[in-house]
Amino acid sequence: MADRTFPTPKTGPALTRKDFVSDQMVRWCPGCGDFAILAQVQKTLPKLGIPKEKIVFISGIGCSSRFPYYVDTYGFHSIHGRAPAIATGLKCARPDLQVWVVTGDGDGLSIGGNHLIHAIRRNIDINILLFNNRIYGLTKGQYSPTSERGKVTKSSPVGSLDRPIYPLRTALASEATFVARSVDADVQHLAETLERAATHKGTSFVEIYQNCIVFNNGAFEDIENRATRDDFVVKLEHGKPLIFGKDRDHGIRMKGGLTPEVVTFKPEEPPKDLLVHNEKAGAEFAYMLTQLEPPEFPTPVGVFRSVEEATYNDLLDAQIESAKKPGADDLSKLLAGPETWEVAA
């Protein structure tokens, strides 16, 4: 039985951002944060050294999920919430492909929450980008599972009652091997984060704060605004202390070893006991970082956790490889089964 093989072509002229722009008109609202994310993805892909026919974008339904139409690779705009399942099937079937999932906070955490956690726990080698605008964009502005409690929308005129779900904590609780957060407006950070996600083997989960200018404008105002963001964001860098602030005069340390607190200091004399980021630490460390939230804390962005573990698709292929023995795939023998008898003429 022939597995189709797709040889990687000899590298032709290097790809550029333009090679990843499709001929489709982009139909997001002017000023939507999705544009910036699209641009950074198109800028990152050429850096990966992967031929574009080997790249597939799969999405569910939502404004964010229109994404595949705009990237000139293979793409699949599927149904609401199911992109991780479709991506899982594709990656198991075709491990030679680089598979990306683009999903929204509703798509990924409401209707598709089940598929999301299971894709992550299997550690399928795919990259999941969750565009979190804390609102249902496509259906015109209902509160979403990441909306803060009390959110007033058309479907919650006196405030939503649900407690929000936190994408990164959901991912960590699903044993994610790569968890990161970035922001649409910080293009450089976003590009770096996307590249890290793309090169991680296993499920990469990236939450991207995305401004929906029409239905939830300003949800991440402090974080996105160039004038304020240094004071409201702490960038996680492996092996480095958590320092933030325009003047780099704030940091985070652990009070009594367990509870984080913000400390202020002279930039040239940071305290020795500042919390040092470690991507390789246990999930509980990353989980603690996800609990740093405004107003008390700056919002951490960057790679929270990145550890190596076997991927589902590799293990699946290994099981099949190790089962292959001469004669073990004799179809006639299989059809005959354990017991046959002859009926004579």
Binding site: T73, T88, L335
Partner: protein, 634 residues
């Protein structure tokens, strides 16, 4: 302790022990049901009896009947598990209407099955289990061995547990272990009564327990002891022989529908040169297909146990997009969950095979019982005009070729195909002539774009099949996007154009119509014209065919057709339907095919409906046909 027999209780029945037993008498067909607790090894006993029967050259058909609970309380009615087999010297198409012999391992098994037993039938029971405590568990008020409730039957009382214990003396087994061997004692009895060889079962025991020599010894001894007991005691006055059936020569095996479907998928993988991806979420009675395939990694088969049915079909669609032979299997409730994603495969025109081993519904319904009530769900259970092809095998063995054909249609026409099996086909078994691989039809499936990249159109059409190109990710220069939004024909771009949408709705329906080129015309069993035509589909085949043949041999004007394709219908269906005065549609639902035939062909189809979780009996169908022939009803 010698068994107390009815003969002892009634001296008139006794035959002198000095007399040699008479020679075996010949019978044409026998139906036996084994029944006991789930833990009594009923299915295993039935399976061994089936093998021995097949080896002796009879034709046969079997049906297991599982309780819904895994370990219902021991000795209770919900815990009763059954296995029925009919074997004969002629063609056998059903496991039999009514058992002639019931082997009951406990009072609950007797109580649950007695009503099905043929009048005058034989009951062989384990008297050791007929205790007050067990009567209570089975809610039996008086000892059936002592009241008149069994008067209409021949009752053979055998203290199976005690006798097994005697036979196993010295092996140092616990009472529980001894009790576990009593099914082989019962099997030994049945082997004597029907003249079966013990060899195959002894070989099986050796293999099965090869790590535990004591159990090999114990079970073998129990089997021999049962056989010797039947031979020497006077309880069994008679043994029976069923002559070999006229079966086409060749190599045979016994096969269930679920096994045949799994093997068909592996064969389809080879015939199409497309790796199989089988993605599913466990559900009775479909899980055995997964169990069978999960073992076949050496064949390159990829199985995926998803988090739910939606993920299972989603993963299959992803695998299909990647160019594999993508299949998802389930039962009714799971099909309901898959419906939105099947619509996605219709829209994206990707090959997909969906297997539905139907069970009693609605909701969780009757997980272990059979029904044909998902036909309308299969045909129409999706939003929008969302046609899928439907293939429905008629017998367990037929599942093999039917699944291959379903894969072929899906891949050739780039469209979802639904395979409608049911619990009766999936778990029932029959002898199956092992096909030579070289006799199976190969199918060529191409992924070549056929045009240079600049001319490529993802929704271009093959003029014959209307299929679109199945160009796979990894093909340089042909990058394209597909999705669930309506597509413009040819270009595959998203389109909200009203005329295009109408065109596409018709086009998707037309793709199904074009499949007629690949499906055989139906053949009529009997005269092409007449008074009554019985039209069936799926697992009712055996009962319908047997009933119709019996009436035909009595000179009655009745014919039958059996539909293996329910969408599209074979091209000669309408003409056939219109050649008969009356059309009868027996179904294990409330008239789903009946409604379709009426709607589609304006024929006044009459229904015969059974929804008891059990297959039709031949007599039920016969009686209905007879009453139609006698004009008792119209």
């Amino acid at each position: 302790m010698p068994a107390k027999t009815k003969a002892e209780r009634d001296p008139h029945l006794a035959i002198s022990p000095k007399n040699r037993k008479p020679d075996a008498s010949e019978v044409e067909a026998v139906t036996i049901r084994f029944a006991g607790d789930s833990g009594d090894g009923v299915q295993l006993t039935g399976g061994q009896f089936t093998t021995a029967t097949a080896l002796s050259g009879n034709d046969l058909s079997t049906l297991p009947d599982y309780p819904a609970e895994i370990r219902a309380p021991v000795g209770t009615l919900p815990g009763v598990s059954g296995f029925q087999i009919q074997f004969s010297s002629r063609d056998v198409l059903t496991p039999g209407d009514r058992p002639d012999v019931l082997v009951a391992f406990n009072p609950a098994a007797l109580k649950a099955n007695l009503k099905d037993l043929a009048k005058g039938g034989t009951i062989i029971l384990n008297t050791d289990a007929f205790t007050l405590q067990n009567f209570k568990k089975a809610s039996i008020e008086t000892n059936p061995l002592e009241d008149e409730s069994l008067a209409a039957y021949k009752v053979v009382e055998v203290p199976m547990t005690t006798l097994t214990g005697n036979a196993l003396e010295g092996l140092g087994l616990s009472p529980t272990q001894v009790s576990r061997c009593k099914n082989f004692f019962a099997l030994g009895i049945m082997y004597w009564v029907y003249g079966r060889s013990l060899e195959a079962t002894i070989a099986w025991i050796k293999k099965k327990f090869n790590k535990v020599p004591t159990m090999v010894e114990a079970n073998t001894r129990a089997l021999h002891a049962g056989h010797a007991f039947a031979e020497t005691t006077e309880i069994f006055q008679n043994s029976y022989r069923v002559k070999k059936a006229p079966i086409a020569p060749g190599k045979y095996r016994n096969i269930t529908g679920n096994e045949a479907a799994a093997l068909g998928l592996v064969a389809a993988q080879q015939l199409s040169s497309h790796q199989l991806f089988y993605s599913t979420y466990p559900i009775t009675p479909a899980s055995d297909i997964l169990h069978n395939l999960a073992r076949l990694k050496a064949f390159g088969v990829k199985t995926f146990q998803a988090e739910d049915e939606i993920a299972a079909v989603g993963a299959a669609i992803g695998a299909s997009f990647g160019g594999l032979l993508a299949v998802t299997g389930t039962s009714g409730p799971g099909l309901a969950l898959k419906s939105e994603a099947i619509g996605l495969a219709v829209m994206t025109e990707l090959p997909l095979l969906v297997i539905n081993v139907q069970r009693g519904g609605p909701s969780t319904g009757l997980p272990t019982k059979t029904e044909q009530s998902d036909l309308l769900q299969a045909l129409y259970g999706r939003n929008g005009e969302s046609p899928v092809a439907i293939v429905a095998p008629a017998t367990p063995g037929e599942c093999f070729l039917a699944v291959i054909q379903a894969c072929r249609l899906a891949m050739k026409y780039r469209h979802p195909v639904l395979f409608l099996s049911d619990g009766y086909l999936g778990n029932g078994s029959e002898p199956w002539k092992v096909p030579g691989i070289e006799t199976l039809p190969k199918f060529e499936i191409s992924h070549e774009p056929g045009v240079p990249p600049e001319d490529f159109q993802p929704y271009a059409r093959d003029p014959k099949t209307l299929a679109r190109p199945w160009v796979l990710p990894g093909t340089a220069g042909y990058e394209h996007r597909i999705g669930g939004l309506e597509k413009q024909d040819i270009t595959g771009n998203v389109s909200y154009d009203p005329d295009n949408h109408e065109h596409m709705v018709h086009l998707r329906a037309e793709k199904i119509e074009r499949m007629k080129a690949d499906i055989p015309e139906i053949t009529v069993l009997g005269e092409p014209k007449g008074k009554v035509l019985v039209a069936g589909w799926g697992s009712t085949y055996g009962a319908i065919t047997t009933a119709v043949k019996q009436l035909q041999s009595e000179g009655k004007s009745v014919s039958a057709i059996h539909l293996r394709y329910l969408n599209p219908f074979p091209s000669n269906l309408e003409a056939i339907l219109k050649n008969f005065d009356k059309v009868l549609v027996p179904e294990m639902n409330l008239g789903q095919l009946q409604m379709i035939l009426r709607g589609r062909f304006l024929v006044d189809a009459i229904g015969l409906h059974k929804v008891k979780g059990q297959p039709f009996k031949i007599t039920e169908i016969k009686e209905k046909i007879e009453s139609l022939l006698e004009n008792k009803e119209s």
